[in-house]
Amino acid sequence: MTSTDDPSSEALRRRFLLGTARDPAPAGAALPNFVSQKVAVSELTALALLGQRLRFRRHRPPPRGAQPPIVDSRKIVPDAARPLMRRLAGGMGGWASDVAALAMADTCQRRRLRPHPFDVPRLAGFVRRHGYSLGAYAAAWSERGKPGKNPADDYCDGENNFDSSNWTSARPAARAEFIAAMRRREPDRARELVAASFAFDAAPVRVRLLAALAAGLSPADATFLESLAHDRASTVRERALELLKYIPGNAAAEGLIRDLVARTSATTAGLLRRRLTLKLELPANLQTVSHAGWSAEAVRRWAADRYAGVGLDAMAAAFGLPVTDMVAAAADATPLLALFARQASMERRFDVLARIVREHAADAWLDAIGRDGDAAEDAGRNAAAAWDDATIEQWCAAAIAPGLWTTLPPVSDLERLYRFLRRPLPLEQARELLQSPAFATLAHPDRSPTGVGPLCLALAALTPPPLRSPLRGAFAGLVATETPPLQPALQLLDCLALLDPVPS
């Protein structure tokens, strides 16, 4: 049908569109119901009548779309939390930092909550970044508009929607999540699935799937990873080589051990009681700047990145020492301590990690999780992601000793800790943190007011539900000293209290 739904007036409409200079508009004939055939109708009158006819026209709605509604079994967040979430993560960036958004997303994931559907468009940036932690609806929203199948089919929430027969049809993020989940349960089966689909995937997807395999690496993975040495994409080759060195007994690992031993000198120290000391010879480019404060971190990062993965026992055997003696011998060699801390964390040798933290370096937890820019960060993060709550508690008990801290770590380090844990600190460590002298430095007058806000935000994310009230009290003390940027941290505390209430 024409746009006027009326063939007679359609002729008039066409004439107006084409112009009436040569061919006058058939006004009377086109509007028989409105004007008498005997009355001469001007073009302008005909135009007015046609315009009114168009204004009264009503279209029939198209048939209902075939797209099925997205079913999301999660509960919607409490109403009181909605304005807080919009304020903290609304628009494209929201008010708060990434760690606040991450804390809210993780809490939603843990408590099986989802944002209110009406808020999802207003939380566009947040949903795009954390859609897969926010339930099926948000995940589908974050994938909307991309070419492909119905996004409702592509959501991997608790592995309910996929199995090994159809996982390859999902989107990359969902596939990586599926493989990571299976890796925790059946590591060999996960590797076999990735190997079977590898030839059909694009390079970015292959890199993503390899990252999902990083948790729980074992010698059984060596063959597959070695086969990737000839992959057509350099990113995949580099990623595979990176993972290979975390497999004990592998040729790459053996080479690293030889290199480590060659770089390490063993000497004795002490006057009354002679003891063995180990010292790592640094590369020339790091030696020249080793006096600068920032380069000390670079040295620790270099050692951990280069040699982590070869195994504590393998290193101890190479040095001809028991592991505990090896750690003690490295007491004055911070790069080696950083390496041992990282390795102990990866191997879940939490007794070794605790010894390093308690006896040698209270900030070794940063080496364990990987400092900013570490190549091994992803591997470390994935390892933690594969851990259950009990393992995380053990790790925190070994690595986090706030009582030994002289001052609060920088915001970036606390945020990295949250990203590593993806949950608040265990109750014991959080309590120790709140009571520590380091926490008291938060109210130090020398601390920049603008720096306090992000620090409080990170602390809010790391605080478990039972301690949020005391933390709020501590923040209230800061508010009394008139530190304005605290609002996001207080709002995050309020929001998390609603999403994740104190268990009764």
């Binding site: 112009g19 315009g51 009264f56 709605p61």
Partner: protein
């Protein structure tokens, strides 16, 4: 209405203002913080200058005034004052209204001024103003007669000028038809600007604004809809011109309406003084807020109200305010869902819609659920036609229906009845706000129908309230 952080956030022109206001919450920035105990707060904020800025704010309707030179409205001082009030961190002394606050109150419009008591000296000033207004009665009778005659001559001159302008408008439309509307779009801007300038010269400024808006509306419409839109707009312009020429044969309400459409503005004071104007006192709920920048560099704020009481009076009203764009971004004083008691005075129209608030009785408070509309979707669509029949040039008609649903088809959204047999296309929001409504049943929907699309403003659903603004 109690001040809360959400309201302050809504009022704030941007995030920077909020951050700046947060820094002013210290007690040493405010040598004076006071209130009158009846919803008026004021304070003095020490800025970088020698004398502090004076800030006043009404908690009843969030009217405000600050003496700072900021181009943001409200400024950080106003936001800080409200924030301090909301937090309750600093005490407000209860005292009588000082002269500078009373002065502001006296100059305010009645809605907020009514519930507050002005200071005695203010009352004296008002009395003086009234006395001054009464002064013309003492003028020389001859001078008054001369003035009235001059006024009549001016009016007649303008009438003649407008009629000449309307003739030129018709001539331009006829020429456009002869050239063919298909060729109009590429040169729409120049053509419309030219005839709009002519209409301004002819003192038909409101009609000129309609012509000026045409190119932008054409470009924003889908290409397949442009020709019909152009026909409708040109037809409406001609219709208005014809109606104006024949205004003496029209009913009073229609005549007043068409005169306003052409450019005979009715001031707020004139409307309030018009005893024949329709006045409705009731409880009103804000159901939509619209802000848009006009080609004449004015920002236009529309506040759509739904009457909550019974009776035959119009169920909807729209308050329209204009601010210069140069003032920067300002927030609408009302937000969707708020409720207040007020007397509204409607502009004369066969389908009364636009109104001004004569007086607000009591504070603005958050309202409950929007009352379920009486009409279902087919009845509400039929009501649109009724309004169009009464006022053929209507460009925004309120639509309210229960039992609606939103369906998606071919990347477009439609509001339909439950059976899907009748419906209206929904205007797409840039940020896809309406998408979550898809699949929900039995929606109570309010929106504005512009002849092509329904702009949803508020929906009551099984998941709660959806707000489009």
């Amino acid at each position: 209405m109690p001040v809360d952080l959400a309201k302050i956030e809504q009022l704030a022109p941007d995030q920077t203002s909020l951050a700046a206001a947060a820094k002013l919450k210290r007690s040493d920035s405010w040598p004076l913080l006071a209130c009158d105990g009846a919803g008026l707060i004021w304070g003095e904020c020490q800025g970088s200058g020698a004398s502090p800025y004076r800030v006043i704010c009404s908690e009843a309707d969030f009217g405000y005034k600050c003496t700072c030179p900021s181009r943001k409205f409200p400024c950080k001082h106003t936001l800080a004052l409200l924030w301090i009030r909301a937090d309750g961190a600093l005490p407000f002394r209860t005292e009588s209204v000082p002269a500078w606050v009373g002065d502001w109150l006296a100059r305010r419009r009645p809605p907020a001024a009514a519930p507050n008591k002005a200071a005695p000296d203010t009352a004296a000033k008002v009395s003086a103003a009234q006395a001054a207004a009464a002064a013309p009665s003492l003028e020389d009778a001859k001078a008054a007669a001369r003035g009235a005659a001059q006024h009549e001559r001016n009016k007649a001159d303008r009438e003649a000028s407008i009629r000449a302008g309307l003739n030129e408008l018709d001539l331009w439309i006829a020429d456009t038809l002869r050239s063919g509307l298909a060729a109009f779009a590429p040169s729409a801007s120049q053509q419309c600007r030219k005839i709009a300038q002519r209409l301004i010269d002819a003192k038909a400024s409101a009609l000129a604004a309609q012509v000026d808006r045409l190119p932008a509306d054409l470009l924003s419409a889908a290409e397949s809809m442009r020709s019909d839109l152009l026909i409708e707009r040109l037809a409406t312009l001609h219709l208005i011109a014809c109606a104006y020429r024949n205004q003496d044969r029209l009913p009073n309400a229609l005549k007043a309406d068409v005169r306003q459409l052409v450019g005979w503005a009715v001031t707020r004071d004139a409307l309030l003084a018009d005893s024949a104007a329709l006045r409705v006192t009731d409880s009103w709920m804000v159901v939509d807020t619209v802000a848009e920048v006009q080609p004449d560099k004015l920002r236009r704020y529309e506040t759509w109200l739904s009457r909550r009481g019974d009776g035959a009076a119009p169920r909807f009203a729209v308050l329209i305010d204009f601010f210069p764009v140069s003032l920067g971004k300002t927030a609408n004083a009302h937000s969707v869902g708020e409720v207040f008691e007020a007397e509204l005075v409607y502009f004369h129209s066969p389908a009364p819609l636009r109104a001004v608030m004569a007086v607000q009785n009591g504070p603005t408070v958050p309202g409950g659920r929007w009352p379920r509309p009486a009409d279902d979707v087919p009845a509400a669509i039929a009501r649109l036609s009724d309004v169009l029949a009464l006022r053929p040039w209507a460009d925004a008609v309120p639509f309210a229906a229960h039992g609606a649903r939103i369906v998606a088809a071919d990347a477009a959204l439609w509001l339909t009845d439950t059976s899907g047999t009748i419906g209206l296309p929904v205007r797409a929001h840039d940020d896809d706000l309406a998408l979550p409504l898809i699949g929900l049943e039995d929606i109570d929907a309010f929106g504005g129908w512009d002849g092509k699309f329904l702009s949803l403003g508020l929906c009551e659903t099984s998941l709660g309230r959806w707000i489009g603004a």
